[in-house]
């Protein structure tokens, strides 16, 4: 074992699908210390190697599967991989995390990073076993769903390597390059931003990895002690017990009551059916908890099955809070079996459930307003909650069916540009990414998160503002200058720009270390991550240095976006997020209104050291070593 950098495999594999060549690149320790891995190293490579205005679906785009030293099944939350790319959904920075064993199995195959460039002449998949990369024909996989592709890759892996093998594939939606296509690890998805479309544009249908290599650690004994200490802490946390027992779906009734469930294409922030949907989920569909990788101390995943009836499904995972809320409240559906079936279909086709449901909600509003008619829908009604219409629309999007399906498969921003007739007003997105199932009208910090997030309107990247405002979570960030949420009202606006800046940086650490963010909900703090990193690499980092690293990376991703023309004009919220809900529990509640979003943005930019137009200042870039 002679790796240059302890904790890392020390190598990036760059596969050029145009030439069919694979090249190993040695990692540089000073670069790794500065960018660590995951979304950090991804930003470093994509910023430096892509030029502005690169077409995300062209061979010039880069698709990177990134890990870090912490990508390991023994590390709490270490079962993740970060996929980085220029997003076809937004045209800006794209990243998507996926739970599962792919990340650490890529390391067993010999690499910290897998970078895909170019475009294969015909459909292929990549097999990487113990440092040997083979590009294989995949024409027989075209049109298969993600389960079939996954089974093929795993069952045809090099002899002797079928045990603990890991594969990621795209579905039909990825093959058709729709902007909401994800990259799937079984039922888990690197879903948001259209990474699956980028993979499809390269004619790459799957990647299978395995091996028996392992990194050298600086202090293995101390590492095991640190892991034991952190695991104990995680298991003792209230979050761990709650998430294990109730999953994220457990939040649904409460979020509904709190005005945190966007409803009817964001006309309201409460659907009033959260309790009913939640109880039906647990009473009729729930089969047990699930982990995305063996060894997770939390196991927030839900396994479920619709046993009988029109919408029956095999046992599957993936019906988490976001997906369930999206396929119920967004489109005014109360039938959990139908919602689960829609989620299952999205998995099967390999697509983002959040965006899929958001697009259907947009289409339903177009239908209500007469902008879309039955002539566009093959006679199907897209009235709110109409199941047959929803199903037709979903399949049309996932298959990119010529006509309305093809238009909607571009996402709400582009679809509204094509459809026109005022539909832009109710196309709910930021920078082209559809809004998820949390509502900034339940607490103001989330509004800033949505407006300024580097990948667009996302609840989890970089952090969940509503958890700070409503659940009073501080993720151990008070020592870094975040105000104690217990002392703040969820409706407050002043001061949250600075809080948001620090929390964004802190909660980006799991994206950089490719760990699950939920570990920070379960009391793992920046010093814990630093302790693990030190045991692995022999470095002497701490929470403060990690925070500075994260700030550097957040700014680098912003520079990537600035280069694409992103400024203050793009850091805005859809009008509906700023106004009183039209109906529901919070109708006419003026507390929901963000009274001065400009002031919040000014405060945020100042805290970031950015110009009033949202551009990182020279001074800030110098301070961050950029």
């Amino acid at each position: 074992m002679n790796n240059l950098i302890k904790g890392y495999m020390g190598k990036e594999l760059v596969v050029d699908l145009t030439t069919g060549k694979a090249e190993e690149k040695k990692l540089n320790e000073s670069v790794m210390r500065k960018y660590l891995g995951g979304a950090g190293y991804g930003a470093y490579v994509l910023y430096n190697e892509l030029s502005e205005y690169t077409d995300p679906l062209s061979p010039e785009n880069i698709l990177m599967f990134a890990t870090s030293p912490l990508s390991s099944p023994i590390v709490p939350g270490g079962g993740s991989v970060m996929v980085c790319f220029k997003s076809p959904a937004t045209g800006i920075w794209g990243q998507a995390r996926c739970g599962g064993s792919f990340g650490y199995t890529l390391k067993k195959a010999g690499y910290d990073f897998l970078t895909i460039k170019g475009k294969a002449a015909k459909p292929v998949y990549i097999e990487i076993i113990n440092g040997n990369c083979t590009i294989k024909d995949a024409e027989n996989l075209v049109g298969l769903d993600i389960y079939e592709k996954n089974n093929y890759l795993i069952s045809n892996v090099k002899e002797g390597y079928s045990k603990n093998v890991a594969a990621m594939v795209i579905g039909v939606s990825g093959e058709k390059k729709i902007s909401i296509a994800g990259i799937m690890f079984n039922d888990r998805a690197a879903a948001r931003g259209g990474g699956g479309a980028v993979m499809g544009s390269k004619n790459l249908l799957g990647i299978v990895v395995n091996g028996d290599k392992k990194p050298e650690y600086s202090d293995e004994k101390k590492l095991m002690e640190t892991i034991r200490r952190i695991n104990k802490k995680v298991k003792a946390s209230d979050f761990c017990e709650g998430a294990h027992e109730f999953g994220t779906v457990g939040d649904l009734p409460f979020n509904d009551e709190e005005g945190d469930v966007p409803t009817m294409n964001w006309r309201s922030n409460s659907c009033g059916t959260g309790r009913k949907v939640h109880d039906a989920f647990y009473d009729h569909l729930y089969q047990g908890s699930a982990t995305c990788y063996k060894g997770c101390p939390i196991a927030c995943g839900r396994k479920l099955k619709v046993e009988t009836g029109r919408y029956r499904t095999p046992a599957h995972e993936g019906n988490e809070y976001e997906s369930v809320a999206a396929f119920t409240a967004f489109i005014m559906n109360e039938d959990i079996e139908f919602a689960s079936y829609c989620c299952y279909l999205c998995n099967k086709y390999g697509a983002d459930t959040i965006s899929a449901a958001a697009i259907i909600a947009f289409a339903m509003e177009c239908f209500e307003k007469g902008i879309i008619t039955k002539k566009d829908t093959c006679g199907h009604s897209l009235e709110w909650g109409n199941k047959e219409g929803t199903l037709w629309c979903l399949k049309a999007i996932l298959n990119k069916t010529p006509g309305l399906g093809e238009i909607l498969s571009c996402g709400v921003k582009k679809a509204a540009e094509i459809i026109g007739q005022g539909s832009e007003k109710f196309a709910i997105h930021v920078k082209g990414m559809e809004g998820p199932a949390h509502d900034p009208r339940s607490g103001k910090t989330l509004g800033l998160c949505y407006a300024t997030g580097n990948r667009g309107m996302c609840h989890i990247q970089p952090f969940e503002g509503m958890a700070y405002d409503r659940a009073k979570m501080d993720w151990g960030m008070i020592k870094y200058g975040v105000r104690d949420p217990e002392t703040l009202d969820r409706w407050d606006e002043a001061g949250k720009g600075k809080d948001c800046r620090i929390l964004q940086d802190g909660l980006c650490i799991p994206d950089i270390l490719t760990t699950c963010k939920f570990l920070m909900y379960a009391d793992v703090d920046l010093d814990d991550w630093a302790d693990l990193l030190n045991c692995m690499t022999g470095w002497d980092t701490d929470g403060w240095e990690l925070l500075k690293t994260s700030e550097r990376i957040y700014n680098l991703q912003r520079l990537f976006n600035t280069r694409e023309g992103i400024t203050r004009k793009d850091d805005q919220l859809p009008e509906r997020c700023l106004k009183e809900p039209e109906f529901g529990k919070y109708k006419n509640n003026s507390m929901c209104v963000i009274s001065d979003f400009d002031a919040m943005l000014d405060e945020y930019y100042e805290a970031r050291g950015w110009s009033p137009d949202g551009v990182p200042s020279e001074e800030k870039l110098k301070e961050l070593g950029l």
Partner: protein, 94 residues
Amino acid sequence: MYIELVFTGQMKRLMPKGSQGFEIPDGTTLSEWYEIFSDRYADSLSPAVWNKKEKRFYRPVKVYINGERIRNEDNNIILKDQDIIKVSMILTGG
């Protein structure tokens, strides 16, 4: 006898601030205490966490007595003097 009620996590924001003391008769069971609790707070309890009809907390609210998790089927447990009942709900993720 005297028992104390403590709210943690999101429940802190939804429920009355700080610890709440209850003077209750000897031999009071947890389900009987729920009646007392319900009477005291009446309509101020959020319907997202409190099942008004059945007078119990909804999942995912968790109830602990002296640090030990109590499930719905344990509602006949008899409370003791100085017991601390903790009511917790920490989720909001995903």
